[in-house]
Symmetry: C2
Subunit: 408 residues, 2 copies
């Protein structure tokens, strides 16, 4: 008998019919002899409806009261799912975050889980109940209701799985697993049976919006096997574990693209020590996150600095730098938001040289100009013109033979 934590997002519980579909999946898992804890989000649209009410009152309502308000969304879902399970003859019991309890810090709207007391949940499981827990929410040490921030239901699922020492945490979404590339771009993209936490972290942060980054970090930290699978299709999904459990000989696991960034180049700055700090300091002070940074070798006593920020912050970052152009002594400040970042990810890179060279050669043979490069132990990212995204991803997918299942 295994203990499984299943997490269903807002789309999966968006209607009474869909809640019944979820209930039947839970019952099927139970019929296989497993104990099941189900974590659910608010019905899709509900959190926005509640936030809409709050915004009619104030543009910045107090975070404590926002949490009291929006935590009702998941509370509604747990009650409806428990009722549905009961109607279908399956003993079930709902728990709010406060009832579990899931103890968090007091950072309303972005609380972090401090600890979970698994005592009550375990007792209910041992009594034959399916336990239905409200995702995304907790309670601080003083009894105030908190929320973990958007998408936090994944984190609830993983944290509960860790606290209960569950055999697996299954994240049900609207895709049936993690793919070697975006199937909308690469029709031959292949669902991965298995991927490591590290790879998933790189893929998640690079735009494959399957899982919340924090929940993957959490799962990795507590070594909770994580499985991504579809609410709407049958299938094994993709299992995410540590490398040592992986038996496949894969160099590249997947390709991710990200169109959310914009590029800024500050050129012709006198090349004194501290140039990067003088350019990026004011940007950081405005709470704008910088992703890739490239500084060219100085030429004629001046240097160029290029970096990327989120597209939403592009205008603001440009304004800040224009306001300091004189101070910096920069010749020009140029921006471009029509860019994309393309990344190859794979733990196999560690032991396989030449991946970067191969990537650059593939892109060159397609006539795609690389503007920036950034590498880590298990990924290589390049920035290219946005118009090349599809071409680049398809060419790389084919060159690295990602459409073929790896040898075992």
């Amino acid at each position: 008998m295994a203990l499984i934590v299943q997490k269903y997002g807002g789309t999966s519980v968006g209607t009474i019919e869909r809640i019944e579909r979820v209930a039947r999946k839970v019952i099927a898992a139970r019929a296989r002899g497993d104990q099941v804890v189900v974590v659910v989000s608010a019905m899709s649209g509900e959190t926005d409806r509640l936030l809409g009410l709050a915004r009619q009152i104030a543009s910045r309502p107090e975070p404590r009261e926002v949490d009291v308000l929006i935590s009702t969304g998941e509370q509604v879902t747990i009650a409806l799912l428990a009722m549905t399970l009961q109607k279908l003859g399956c003993p079930a019991r709902s728990y709010t975050g406060a009832q579990v309890p899931i103890i968090t810090d007091s950072a309303h709207g972005k609380a972090r889980i401090a600890r979970i007391d698994p005592h009550q949940v375990r007792a209910a499981l041992d009594a034959g109940q399916v336990v239905v827990v409200a995702g995304f929410q907790g309670v601080d040490a003083l009894g105030n209701i908190t929320t973990l921030g958007r998408g936090g239901s994944d984190t609830t699922g993983v944290a509960l799985a860790a606290a209960l020492k569950a055999d697996e945490c299954q994240i049900f979404t609207d895709v049936d697993g993690v793919y070697t590339a975006d199937p909308r771009i690469v029709p031959t993209a292949r669902r991965l049976d298995h991927i490591t936490f590290e790879e998933m972290l790189e893929l998640a942060s690079l735009g494959a919006k399957v899982l919340q980054i924090r929940s993957v970090e959490f799962a990795g930290k507590y070594n909770v096997p994580l499985r991504v699978l579809s609410t709407f299709q049958e299938g094994p999904g993709t299992l995410i574990t540590y490398e040592e459990q992986q038996v496949e000989e894969v160099v590249i696991s997947g390709i991710a693209q990200n169109r959310d960034e914009a590029q800024i180049t500050v050129s012709g700055i006198p090349d004194h020590p501290g140039v990067a700090y003088r350019v990026l300091g004011p940007v950081a002070d405005a709470n704008i996150e910088v992703d890739m940074i490239v500084q060219n070798v100085a030429r004629d006593g001046t240097t160029d600095l290029t970096f990327t920020v989120h597209r939403n912050d592009h205008e603001r970052a440009m304004e800040i730098l224009r306001g300091r152009q004189k101070d910096l002594g920069a010749r020009e400040i140029a921006g471009d938001s029509a860019i994309a970042k393309i990344s190859l990810v794979g733990v196999g890179m560690r032991s396989h040289a030449g991946v970067a060279a191969r990537m650059f050669s593939v892109l060159a043979s397609e006539g795609i100009n690389i503007r920036m490069i950034s590498t880590s132990e298990i990924k290589i990212s390049v920035v290219v013109s946005e118009k090349y995204v599809e071409l680049a991803v398809r060419a790389l997918h084919e060159a690295f033979a990602l459409d073929r299942a790896p040898h075992r």
Copy 2:
């Protein structure tokens, strides 16, 4: 500095605009130097919306989960009201029933309050906060969310006022107080400044649907001065206290009418001991509540028994009795749902003889036939044909000079 508990119902908090109106009333009370605890219901329509979701799942969803579901209604309102108060510059803090905590028994859907720990609320008040509490809900000793049943927010207000030893519990409704008669029937009906708990109980149970009966009982039991007043109009409302605080010399406080009942007459039953039990036993067994009962003096060895039930139960009660007509040896079973009960209520009756005689004479002079009579220490009720309701109420209102303020 007084401590006031204010309770606002679903209509009073039905929209964001109305919530702001409530907030301004709370702030006005605070500006008078009072500490304020506000108890609110779910926004009008919200509880029904949630119950509608539950009914799509099952006709009889488990009561524990129904409570988890519908308690979110008040939770939304407390957050919105607290945000509104904060926006208007008034420190405020919301509390669910579980957070206060309001401890109840475990009778989901109709829980009774066992005790309230006023510690947290008092600390927040002393810190200068307005405390906003979710009505209608509590938590049992095991941490399960419970609800007090429909209209239970009044009870929450009174119970909190009792636990906090508040100076007054103000129930805000859509009427501006308790009237000597229904103003839609008697245009000269007068708002009472003051009424006793006993009178209010009689009036409440007789159809003046201003207050929940249970909350009046509760207020009487714990001697919490209760004030009924309007959310939408300024005015002192009606204060409800114990008799000793009343200085007015009033015989009759008000007239109530009730059209919710139907009459059943079982006639020609052989007059043996236990007739009433044999007729009413089966009705009670079917969980049908019987209000007035009159048994006529036996004639020719047979007797007649007449009683009233709620109109919704009339058909069912008739069927039960028809099924037992042979056993009872009754000659006839007749029903009439076109009846009304009219009641005079007033603690002054205790010391004033002749009220009943005067009432009967007034009705007789209008040609109104009395079908049943029932009296208690502070009320006289008569059943008449429904068509006479307005005539009877107006005639009595005038005869007892209820339109004139009493001498002091």
